[in-house]
């Protein structure tokens, strides 16, 4: 059965186009619109304002990475569903130089550009799922996902 389009707590009404957005990244001026779009979609999916802020912040960092290292790329934000729970998928794609040592890049504090190097480890920490594919000379694709909270068993008072 097709999953229903709107989450039960979604404040706005739904259109197919509202479930996905692609933002071209060519300069740091694209950071604000990318994260604003991400925030909108996150709220639309049913995330709380605090969670939407987290997602917007992660998008900001991912876009920064693209601008810094690859100069151009794309951000795709998309509504998704897993085990009946709605969520958001963010794909940050570029045709940049690629990352030679991905493991090193995931270490907190590591950076080749003199920045604090928080983008990737931070994104990994804040989101529920994190995946990175990078090939030197080809490019990098980072995919992160976050799911709205499902039911949990209360433990203790």
């Amino acid at each position: 059965m097709e999953p229903p389009c709107g989450a039960a707590d979604s404040p706005s009404s739904v259109g197919v186009l509202d479930n996905e957005a692609t933002i071209e990244i060519a300069s740091s001026g694209d950071i604000l619109p990318a994260r604003q779009k991400g925030r909108e979609l996150a709220r639309h999916v049913g995330f709380s304002s605090a969670e939407a802020t987290l997602i917007a912040t992660v998008i900001s960092e991912l876009v920064r990475n693209i601008v810094l290292y690859a100069k151009r790329g794309q951000i795709i934000v998309r509504r998704a569903e897993s085990a009946g729970r709605p969520g958001i998928v963010v794909v940050a794609r570029d045709d940049g130089p690629g990352i030679p040592d991905v493991r090193q890049a995931l270490c907190v504090g590591f950076s080749t550009s003199g920045s604090l190097g928080l983008g990737l480890p931070g994104a990994k920490r804040l989101m529920d799922e994190f995946e990175i594919v990078s090939e030197v000379g080809i490019g990098t694709t980072v995919t992160v996902k976050k799911w709205t909270a499902g039911l949990t068993c209360s433990s203790g008072v």
Binding site: A50, L151, S154, S155
Partner: protein, 303 residues
């Protein structure tokens, strides 16, 4: 051309009308027969002892709405309207105590009652009946699925809200005196609860304009490294709001956990017990703790 079964002398008629025309005929039939079919449906609902939480007028009204929506969806194939209706219905009946098996049950009953009505109409033509069912069945099953899932999701949403409310009640942030907040935590903390505590705390700092927060974890037996990290994070976030955090009631085990994850305990304000924590907080706020007798003397001399 396929072989037609001959039923006891009744000649088989090949009906080659397109599906859409058949659908229209089927929908028209269901609309025209709404009164008897709906009546049969309600009779069977009552027989099954369902929807006892509702009055017979209410059952009649809802049955009519569901019937009409059902036939609309068969006609248009669009489930959005039905989803909206299912959510709306769920919102209204869940607080009345209507259970999942009742909702699933009545939708399946409607499916059966409508199907029987179709059997009756097309009973003289087996192949035509088959074609009608080919159109009816998948649509009817999708409808049943949509309503049931909609109901269950609404229930889950309500349960989530209730859980959140319970969690909030169980860990209040207490404004004790001006600019001082106390957050006593009792019990085991899971990551979700930890997240909620931090959110409550940060909003509480803003709301009460707190400058010092005492987080008392005397009542917490153990924390895993995830939650310990979260505690450190909370202290940092509070600082961004201009508040100092004092953690009290650290058991030796928890202190060890914090050290193990690399927390520099000297950087974190920790005090043995809650009372000590409050006094420490008051000192930070610029209060000086003075015994009552002395305070009276001071008041007398300063007028």
């Amino acid at each position: 051309m396929y072989d037609e079964p001959i039923l006891a002398g009744i000649p088989a008629v090949v009906d080659s009308r397109p599906g859409t025309e058949m659908l229209r005929e089927l929908v028209t039939h269901l609309r025209q027969n709404r009164t008897p079919v709906r009546g049969e449906w309600i009779r069977r609902i009552t027989e099954a002892d369902w929807l006892t939480a509702m009055t017979s007028e209410e059952v009649f009204a809802e049955a009519t709405s569901i019937y009409d929506s059902y036939v609309d969806v068969l006609e248009t194939g669009s489930v959005e309207a039905l989803q909206a209706y299912a959510r709306n219905l769920s919102e209204r009946i869940i607080p009345r105590g209507v259970e999942t098996h009742e909702v699933v049950g009545i939708v399946l009953l409607l499916r059966d009652v409508l199907a029987r009505s179709l059997f009756k109409k097309y009973q003289t033509d087996f192949s035509l009946l088959n074609r009608v069912l080919d159109i009816y069945e998948p649509a009817a099953n999708r409808i049943a699925n949509t309503v049931a899932v909609g109901f269950v999701q609404e229930r889950e949403r309500i349960i989530r809200e209730q859980q959140e409310a319970i969690r909030e009640l169980s860990t209040p942030v207490l404004p004790v005196r001006e600019r001082l907040l106390i957050l006593p935590i009792i019990g085991v903390i899971d990551p979700q609860r930890a997240r909620q505590l931090t959110e409550q705390l940060l909003h509480g700092i803003r709301r009460n304009r707190a400058k010092v927060v005492v987080i008392d974890i005397t009542g917490v037996p153990t924390i895993d490294s995830k939650v310990a990290n979260h505690l450190v994070l909370t202290v940092e976030a509070a600082r961004l709001l201009g508040a100092t955090v004092i953690v009290t009631g650290l058991s030796p085990e928890i202190a060890q956990t914090l050290v193990n994850i690399g927390v520099d305990l000297s950087k974190m304000n920790t005090v043995g017990d809650l009372q000590g924590g409050i006094e420490g907080a008051e000192r930070l706020l610029g209060y000086e703790v003075v015994p009552i007798k002395e305070a009276n003397v001071q008041a007398a001399t300063h007028g």
